[in-house]
Point group: C2
Chain length 470, copies 2
């Protein structure tokens, strides 16, 4: 609970219309897109500019009040669930595209800008921002940066981190700093810009970002490759890369996913095959055609049963949209959908897919698998029901085994969703005690009072999803 004194001070900073501590107002921001995590904040605040953010942070730092910065809350790691109360900080007033610089190929935004709005704005100038998380229609760029979001074009173009070149940050002590700039190169001191990317709001509050853009590729082609053997599909992925083709997109969907997505989207996806690869290439038209032909041949060589090249942009867009809506499609069939993102070296994708299926069978669970196969970033997704406590316990065990398997194969517990609250108990699997200690030391050094999104990334105990009460 916030004291009356603090409440008045906060209202003084942002105005009464931008502070809310009603039960309803707090309830709305008590959860994010992650199932099974909920916790009430003490208040919700919407600053109008960086100066106001700085005042809020100074006050919170003095009084040890947690701050949870939040975009649209589309993350899947309970990264914006206010698990320790405090303030949820919204960027609804800080949502302007400040500048598109066509000479330096940059865009400068406030954190509250919707990802797709910015993508459309730069595309209208012939420029391209590759990171395209599935949630981009509603996610914000501030959220994308805090989570280092990936997307369907990550294989060729990298993730959010690869496009953030300058930041304005409000540190936990309220100081405002600027890192990087419209600069292709900058080695003046530690790389705070990239340290902030993916730090999940635990090190400071991002109040402005300069992002790198690239010229829009001249053309694009899309194809869908069918398999009756999951291993053959996974093998095709590494065969393509080993043949020195880096497609823009190289997505995998297994049969259970295909069936549910087709039922939802009705675009004629095959439901009688064991798996498909959705492959896209962009660039100069001749190169694209050549790559698509070569990849077709390689896939057939790896026992694809058929290859369908999209003949129109509508058809291609349908396929992309089907993939992007996989989570929504799956969500219609069961009350609780738990989507994970264990990631392995791409050479190990086949082994990982097989392991996921074996684990699902062992625990008698309904797990659909899809994901960014080219990145080795798979999304095993469990269709379950939170009210079925016994099954949820099995789910927890199954995912723990999946994470262990990913690590065993040289992978990681999260490729693009972040640690947040959900993965905190598993972080040590990847980092070891010494790695976690180093990260905690950095956290303590920049946020000694632990007010910046506390309870995230580092587990207080080994509490897992199953014992969280909602």
């Amino acid at each position: 609970m916030l004291s009356q004194e603090i409440k008045l001070k906060l209202i003084q900073i942002v105005g009464p219309e931008n502070f809310d501590d009603t039960k309803v107002g707090r309830l709305v921001y008590s959860y994010d897109a992650t199932p099974m995590f909920q916790s009430l904040p003490d208040g919700v605040i919407a600053p109008r500019n960086t100066g106001e953010v700085s005042y809020i942070v100074k006050l919170c730092n003095e009084r040890r009040i947690p701050i949870v910065p939040r975009g649209s809350g589309t993350n899947l790691c309970a990264g914006t669930c206010p698990t320790e109360g405090g303030l949820v900080l919204l960027f609804k007033h800080m949502n302007a595209i400040l500048e598109i610089d066509e000479e330096n190929l940059t865009v400068t935004v406030q954190p509250g800008v919707i990802t797709l709005d910015m993508i459309h704005a730069v595309e209208s100038k012939g420029l391209f921002y590759p990171p395209d998380p599935s949630s981009m229609k509603i996610s914000t760029l501030g959220g994308n940066i805090n989570e280092n979001s990936g997307g369907l074009r990550g294989l060729k173009y990298g993730v959010t981190r690869d496009y953030v070149i300058g930041l304005e940050i409000v540190l936990a002590n309220g100081e405002i700093i600027r890192t990087g700039g419209k600069l292709a190169k900058d080695v003046a001191g530690y790389d705070l810009t990239r340290l902030m990317v993916g730090s999940e709001g635990t090190l400071g509050i991002i109040t402005e970002a300069t992002l790198k853009l690239i010229p829009t590729p001249e053309s694009k082609m899309t194809m869908l490759v069918h398999y009756q053997d999951i291993e053959a599909a996974a093998k095709s992925v590494s065969t393509i890369i080993a043949n020195k083709i880096i497609p823009t997109t190289l997505e995998f969907l297994d049969q259970p996913t295909l069936k549910l997505v087709e039922e939802y989207s009705q675009i004629g996806l095959p439901t009688d095959v064991k798996a498909v690869l959705l492959i896209e290439q962009d660039g100069p038209i001749k190169v694209v055609k050549q790559d698509i032909e070569k990849m077709s041949r390689l896939c057939v060589q790896e026992r694809a049963v058929s290859v369908k090249i999209a003949t129109s942009e509508e058809e291609a867009d349908g396929l992309r949209t089907a993939r992007r809506t996989a989570l929504s499609a799956l969500a219609r069939f069961k009350p609780t959908i738990i989507l994970e993102d264990a990631t392995v070296p791409r050479s190990e994708v086949a082994k990982m897919v097989i392991a996921i299926n074996e684990i699902a069978e062992k625990y008698q669970l309904n797990i659909c698998t899809f994901g960014h196969a080219g990145d080795g970033n798979l999304h095993p997704t469990c269709l379950t029901d939170v009210r079925n406590h016994e099954e949820i316990e099995q789910v927890e065990k199954a995912f723990e085994e999946i994470f262990m398997k990913a690590i065993e194969l040289g992978g990681t517990i999260t490729g693009e969703h972040g640690v947040g609250t959900v993965k905190a108990p598993y972080l040590e699997l990847k980092l070891g005690q010494a790695g976690i200690a180093a990260m905690k030391a950095i956290k303590d050094s920049l946020d000694p009072n632990n007010i910046m999104n506390p309870g995230k990334m580092f587990a207080k105990d080994s509490r897992k999803r199953v014992v969280v009460t909602t």
Copy 2:
């Protein structure tokens, strides 16, 4: 001075043949490629593996002995000058290419591998490692990572940071941690991998690195564009980019540089023009031809006086080599060469070049300017003589003005050379007090006893180059 006890302990770890505290041995490692900085270490040590590094670090941490990790010492920021004594740590035994993984497109190396040796090794398998610092024939990958080295191909392909995906690090407490892996994506905790890149040995010792590779571009073309107007050359740079062509290389050389380089290399460079741009494009042959033609037209439109396209690989290689050897060429003409790397947004390159010339004139100095114009990363290089104290004072003032101008134009004090000892007094210009405080907090958190390359990056006082006694 190391005590006899410590000396014996160090010898116990690495063997007598890998420890040297003779005067001559120490003298050899008392300086690096940076003029006017010299300081004797207390000893030189060459561990044979990560375990030995860990033992050395633990001992040094206990006894507060500085450690300066050193590759080939080609850095230009006095980053490996042992300014506070202690041990210089060499990687001459840790110089193996451990694995080239053609399925995952990665190479794993020990820090002592020579950059060009690795580049040749991966090229023989049709793979490509873009970062190509001018010193790559002698620099090591460990050094490149610690300095986040750039190179001539940075415009299109980025810098060292963009290719480091996994590290083994010995922390200041002697713990060995692993970050990242052969993974396209990993968001398990803070991005320690990129935090280490460019940290100049101040946060830990890198003992192994996994680097990302890409397929070798199919073809490459090189051209040299002549200008009688420096501003027109600089303007061409931003015109090319604004026209949505990203060439591999976009280098600028002014007339004073051209004259000295031609005298040194004798390859027929023009010496009667005010500036040249060296432009390269790589990729599929048709695209490359098209881009080269378009860039030629754009340059002529921006008042280039002539465009010469290299007709053979020998000719192209001659041009590249001439550019790469600019520093060596200049070094023949004066006893002391001070090469800086102020960097600006590329739209500001013209203004920066003009400002450098005005500043040179104001202080009556001989400054040649060349550099990675496409990155906005210029190397104003002063030909002077350390024995001429009056002139050196002017040099110091001139470079301070150059840095201030770069900052004023939205730039930075160092684009690729690092802060080290040389730029430490200027770091605040770029970061402000709050930014430096944040970085120092991180340094203290990971290296509380300040044993990791102490005296670098953060200035103890405002001591500049001119007052350093050598």
